[in-house]
Amino acid sequence: MIRLVMLIALLSAFLALGPTTVRAAAPSSEEVQQLRKEIDLLRKQNAASEARIQALESKLTDVQQAQEKKDQELDAKIEGGTRTTAAGSVGDIVDKWFGDNRFIVTGYGQGTFDWQRNDGTSTFGARFNPLFLYRVTDRVLFEASPEIELESTGETNVNLENAQADIILNDYMTFVGGKFLLPFGDFIEHIEPAWINKLATKPLPYVEGDEGGLLPFSDLGAQVRGGIELFDTEGVSVDYTAFMSNGPRFEDSALGTPAIGTPFLTNNVDLNKGKGFGGRIGLYPIPLAAEMGRLRIGASTYDGTWDDKEGLWFAAWGLDFAYQLDELEVRGEYLQTRRQLLGQSTDHRDGFYLQAAYKLSRLGIEPLNKVELVARWSGLQQHGLAADDVLGTEARPGNPRELAFGVDYWLTPSVVGKLEYDWEFGDKVRNDNMIHLMVAVGF
């Protein structure tokens, strides 16, 4: 029995140790050399990696220190709110009286020279639009802007362009009450001021309503408005405005003899009980991080009864867009209006403009760096409006088209000299040429 057990043990040991003995055969000298080479290579690679890590760590420390320094500088600026305007400025003087710059006078002024071939006019002109801002609290602002303009009759015309209280109700809604610029389209609210408008003239549909344009520039009433970021994405947002107002009024509203093409009249005291209402919605679809420029597309409407018996409607709607990428800017609008007339066909008018501008700042040539080239095509369709219909009114007859070319020279971001050439033509329109020179100062 003992022998049997020993035999089994020996057999087991042989089976267990046998293969190991085979595997443990000594490596050849070539294999050893190869392994040594590989080890040397790995050591070198390791040393190179360590050196690289040290270099990166050193660079990281430099970056961290630089960042810390920048943060400290930024903190100091944020803390101090460093004043960078010259001491003793108008702001300082106003500060003494009103405190903490709650009250500010800003706005713009312009000097012009206009030459028109058909009318034979060649005249200088001027206009001044101060904008008074009073910040009552961080959520309440009062703003007013009188427009002071020289009339061709020799008189000085003063018109209250807007006077409104703005109350921020929450992050998404602001209440506005008073006389406000009509929140319709892009031109009236955003680019009408002379230092912003890249041309000396307005596009044909946006000549002011009392001068034959398609819309009044302001109205009295109340509105809610705001902007909301979408999808938590910087640059992507939607904005809205909804308003109720006195509504549209025309020069013939109370006369009982309405005519096609009659200009608007400011509806300071509502001529009827019916109110005007309207709104605008705008969308910014391109994220800032995409670096593909900024695009805004919008849609607007403005409606209301315009006669003293509240039976006849005025309705307008429009679409607009604006796109900006570096030195390039393109914008355009289309709008359409319809005014019901008693016993006559509807006064149906529509208009458009398309404008492109390009700054030459990339040329790197000093005088041209501040030059911007502008071109605009605009037009009006005045259905059923013949020259005879507009005798004695400001409205333009026919279906005019206008090509305008401009060269702007920007002395500062808000001081510009403009030279503009206009060519007007179209159906039932007498061709005309105009040259405009303007110096506009935003302050």
């Binding site: 930024l74 903490d100 909301i228 809205y240």
Partner: protein, 102 residues
């Protein structure tokens, strides 16, 4: 019984002392941490405003340089621009933080 009372009183005193003395240290640390977080948040807001300044302001008019106005003047102007341009609240705050910081 008396010895037990003394021990309980001593333990209570130590606990109260720890709470009273420990609290200011914890509050100071918390305050420092909160200040650091607020400063970091403010810096992030300024950087967001710097990114948006040219694109947002420039979509209607040339972006006005921050140095043109004092911080208090920017407070009033940005309130006006927030309403006129229908700026989302977060963007208006970021632009104001940037304009005030220069």
């Amino acid at each position: 019984m008396r010895r037990t009372n003394v021990r309980a009183l001593a333990t209570l005193s130590i606990l109260v002392g720890a709470v009273v003395l420990g609290r200011p240290e914890a509050t100071a640390a918390e305050e420092a941490s909160e200040q650091k977080a607020a400063a970091s948040e403010q810096r992030a807001l300024v950087r967001k405003g710097a990114r948006e300044w040219s694109a947002y302001c420039g979509s209607c008019h040339n972006a006005r340089p921050p140095g043109e106005r004092s911080p208090a003047e920017w407070d009033t102007i940005m309130l006006h621009m927030r309403v006129r341009a229908n700026l989302p609240a977060g963007d208006a705050q970021a632009l104001l933080a940037y304009l005030r910081s220069r």
